[in-house]
């Protein structure tokens, strides 16, 4: 994949690896990352790897172990994880590669290293309660006899406010990646 070729520099300088990065990732939820022995069972089950993303589970883990933070931040692969959790199911060392992916995302968000697509997703989640939501689908839904909005958060203003209140309590709100503050509830989840 051409994307991969661009993302991987010619020679990786291990000396430039960030010391203590593994500890940070561990603290962010990937508690058992050091148990990984790169057996690649997770990669064999990973749809991301099949789709050709350069940093799939196993490779993300190795890059983290080597402290190659910048390299991971320069690439959008980690955002392609579909959370299918197959890696976690098959891992023979109980590393929980999905948690590693999540921890890496936490680092990426903190460093504002997230793709536009992800920002749109977060904004959409905050606005309507869906990371992926097609407002254009309203007409079609009506045509086939469905309510204009699906019977989820988007159709329930109270639920949406609850969700927004929750999101406002997270690190996302402090980072200011998307505008927040619509819920009008600052300190509690009660709406």
């Amino acid at each position: 994949m051409s994307n991969a070729a661009e993302a991987v520099p010619e020679v990786i300088n291990l000396s430039a690896g960030e010391k203590g990065f593994v500890d940070e990732i561990k603290a962010l939820g990937a508690t058992h990352i050091l148990d990984c022995i790169q057996c690649a069972k997770c990669a064999a089950a990973c749809p991301m790897a099949l789709a050709g993303f350069p940093f799939f589970n196993k490779r993300v883990i190795q890059a983290i172990l080597l402290g190659l933070k910048e390299m991971l931040l320069d690439d959008t692969s980690i955002w392609a994880c579909q959370s299918c959790n197959r890696c976690t199911e098959v891992c023979p060392r109980k590393v929980n590669p999905f948690e590693v992916m999540q921890a890496m995302r936490r680092v990426a968000v903190r460093e504002f290293a997230l793709p536009t697509l992800a920002i749109e997703g977060i904004k959409s989640l905050y606005d309507v309660g869906h990371a992926v939501y097609l407002a254009q689908a309203h007409e079609n839904r009506v045509k086939v006899g469905l309510p204009q909005k699906p019977p989820s958060t988007v159709a329930h203003p109270t639920a949406l406010r609850e969700l927004q209140a929750l999101l406002e309590q997270t690190a996302l709100s402090d980072l200011g990646i998307i505008p927040m503050g619509k819920s009008g509830v600052k300190e509690s989840c009660e709406v």
Partner: protein
């Protein structure tokens, strides 16, 4: 006419899968002298052997041919069956239709079947001419020799000594202890090597049944099981060991400096030295090649007299020696002395050598900061050149980044094609020792496989990973020297699928485990061969792991192949048990398959005398002429003399000329193409 019984073994599918048993059976039935033919799934099983016994008891057969696996493992079993049934055990012949036929020609069933027929025909032809022979027994000298004073040799010696046998322990170096004495810690428990080894060394040194012969080498061995005669050369120490107390005063006085072998050349020792502080025996030796002969005091000369004081001018070492052990007026024999030993059994435990870094030009071996793992071991050891402080050799600074490179010279067809087995573990151990003591150090291990097979080893590996030691799959391609004593390690990270490079302060090469220098020569003296990798070969990998083809000689430890300490000790104790069997029995069976000279036919040419590898042939007076005579106690039945004798005066019993010729005839003249 003899009544030969032919018994064809299927060896499960091993033989029957390639050889058409029914066809071979039919063919064998038609061979001259064959009274009956039987086949069975496993001829060596109880029911299989019962077939043979019953036929003998019923008087149906008086000669037995078993066509099966190999005489190497199974001849004794069938001989015993024949004997149990009341027949002489030497009226038995084996046709090897498995190792030499079905296994070798698995994909040519037709050819394998034809070859089986030939091999059986040949065995039958010989069987017809077999004659009964009588076993002999020889008395056993109740003493043993252990060659090599490392951890394996020491445990073998201790076990035999504790059983009550006299043991001679021969060690090349001035002290016992071997490679283990050089180690800092030992995996998988991280025991301090010296702490667990020193008491064992002391036990060996003080055991009443053990005679320690250090600074000595085996020069020649003759005789056979039960009665080996061994010549040991005790090298010249130039010190009277009876008087030397190991105080070290001479060492302090000596001005000469020589790279210290014990510290892997990482520091200097003196020309007069004690190998290491915990040495057993703790005695000094003079390295005569590097002795400066201070005050013109060469050995064997009288001191000059000081013109003013009238006192003799002594060399610093002899001046310092409080006991007079260092006396340079004595004229020592530079060749040392020969000690002759009589022993019943021998254990070879000569250990290993760590491969040198010099051949690996791509890893900058000229850099003082590129070390072998054994050098690092000394660097980490409290008794080492830095007293355990972790400093890099070039500038004495503490390394911030250390890179280990695995499989240096191992799994490498240019050097050693085998896996050295202990490197993964010792790299992890050294990495762990560094990381535990200096957690801020960056430690990288570049590997092609991490092999941690063994009790508690995987746990050890996992623990090392948990410490944050970075493990990169990919053999290093190059180590370049950079300015400021830095080193650049270049590799390909298979897991990242990208080339990587690393700037390191210290690079450690996990160099291969090699056979000890001179092992092949020692093997020749003992009559044991080395495998292609240079280690001594055991008789059978699985069933006879400590036995050698020479009866009464056993092997233990790394002389046989790379091993860790637990394995070396286990094998040493196994070898001691095996070596004790003949000593306990007090007598050993000598097969009568030896050569004999017909003095009437012998022309006295003497050709056989120098040919005999066992020095078993001498010339004796026979009537008015000198004739060759074979000492049956020494003859090993190799047959060299019988093949060389121009008068055909020598008979190798069990392999007579008539028998061999009958075999050849059966193989070559009985028709059909032999597809081999």
């Amino acid at each position: 006419m003899s009544k030969i019984g032919v018994y064809i073994c299927h060896c499960g599918e091993n033989i029957a899968g390639a050889v058409d048993i029914a066809e071979v059976k039919k063919y064998a039935g038609g061979l001259p002298g064959v009274a009956l033919v039987r086949d069975y799934l496993f001829m060596c099983s109880d029911p299989g052997q019962d077939l043979i016994k019953q036929d003998i008891k019923d008087g149906l057969v008086d000669r037995v041919v078993v066509a099966a696996c190999t005489p190497r493992t199974h001849e004794p079993i069938f001989r015993k069956a024949v004997e149990d049934a009341g027949l002489n055990r030497y009226l038995f012949e084996m046709a090897n239709i498995r190792d030499q036929d079905s296994w070798a020609h698995w994909h040519d069933k037709q050819g394998a079947t034809e070859k089986a027929k030939k091999l059986i025909a040949s065995a039958v032809a010989k069987a017809a001419l077999l004659e009964p022979l009588t076993d002999r027994y020889v008395d056993v000298t109740k003493a043993a020799l252990v060659v090599g004073g490392g951890v394996a040799g020491m445990f073998a010696a201790l076990d035999l000594a504790n059983m009550g046998y006299k043991v001679y322990l021969v060690e090349k170096k001035p002290s016992i202890g071997g490679n283990m004495a050089k180690l800092d810690k030992t995996f998988p428990t991280n025991d301090c090597s010296a702490c667990i080894l020193t008491p064992v060394m002391v036990q060996v040194g003080t055991h009443p049944n053990i005679t320690l012969l250090t600074y000595s080498e085996v020069e020649a061995v003759d005789g056979s099981i039960g009665n080996f005669r061994v010549k040991v050369r005790r090298r010249q120490t130039y010190i009277e060991w009876d008087k030397c107390t190991g105080c070290g005063a001479c060492v302090e006085a000596c001005p000469a400096k020589v790279p210290d072998e014990f510290n892997e050349g990482m520091s200097n020792r003196k020309a007069i030295y004690i190998e290491f502080p915990q040495a057993v025996p703790k005695k000094a030796v003079v390295d005569i090649a590097h002795c400066l002969n201070c005050a013109k005091r060469t050995f064997g000369t009288q001191p000059r007299i000081h013109s003013k004081t009238g006192e003799p001018i002594l060399a610093p070492c002899e001046k310092a020696c409080p006991t007079g052990a260092c006396d340079r007026s004595l004229s020592y024999n530079p060749d040392g002395e020969i000690i002759e030993l009589n022993v019943g059994t021998i254990i070879v435990a000569t250990g290993y050598k760590v491969m040198d870094k010099a051949p690996f030009k791509e890893y900058s071996p000229q850099s003082p900061n590129v070390l072998t793992a054994m050098q690092l071991e000394r660097l980490l050891s409290a008794t080492g050149p830095t007293e355990g402080e972790f400093k890099r050799p070039s500038d004495g600074k503490k390394p911030k980044t250390v890179a280990f490179i695995s499989c240096v010279g191992s799994r490498d067809k240019n050097h050693h094609p085998y896996c050295s087995k202990v490197c993964c573990m010792y790299m992890l151990k050294e990495a762990r020792l560094i990381k535990e003591k200096y957690p801020e150090t960056n430690v990288y291990i570049f590997f092609i496989d991490v092999r941690t097979g063994g009790k508690d080893f995987e746990e050890y590996y996992t623990y090392c990973r948990d410490l944050g030691i970075k493990i990169v799959r990919g053999r290093v391609g190059a180590v370049d020297e950079l300015a400021g004593d830095r080193l650049r390690v270049r590799a390909y990270d298979v897991d990242m699928a990208a080339p990587v490079e690393l700037e390191a302060d210290l690079v450690v090469l996990a160099t291969a485990i090699e056979p000890s220098p001179g092992l092949e020569e020692l093997g020749r003296r003992l009559g044991i061969t080395c495998g292609s990798e240079g280690f001594l070969k055991e008789v059978h990998t699985k069933l006879y792991p400590v036995e050698t083809p020479v009866k009464g000689i056993y092997i233990a430890g790394c002389a046989q192949g790379p091993k860790d300490i637990p394995e070396s000790v286990s094998q040493a104790r196994a070898a001691a048990a095996a070596a004790a069997v003949p000593l306990t029995a007090g007598k050993v069976l000598v097969e009568p398959l030896i050569s004999e000279i017909d003095a009437e036919k012998c022309s006295g040419c003497g050709l056989c005398v120098p040919l005999c590898p066992y020095s078993a042939i001498g010339m004796v007076q026979h009537g008015d002429k000198l004739r060759a005579k074979i000492d049956p106690a020494l003859c090993a039945g190799c047959g060299v003399c019988a093949a060389a004798c121009p008068s055909r005066a020598i008979t190798l019993h069990g392999f007579t000329t008539a028998q061999i010729e009958a075999q050849i005839e059966a193989l070559t003249f009985s028709g059909g193409d032999l597809n081999v």
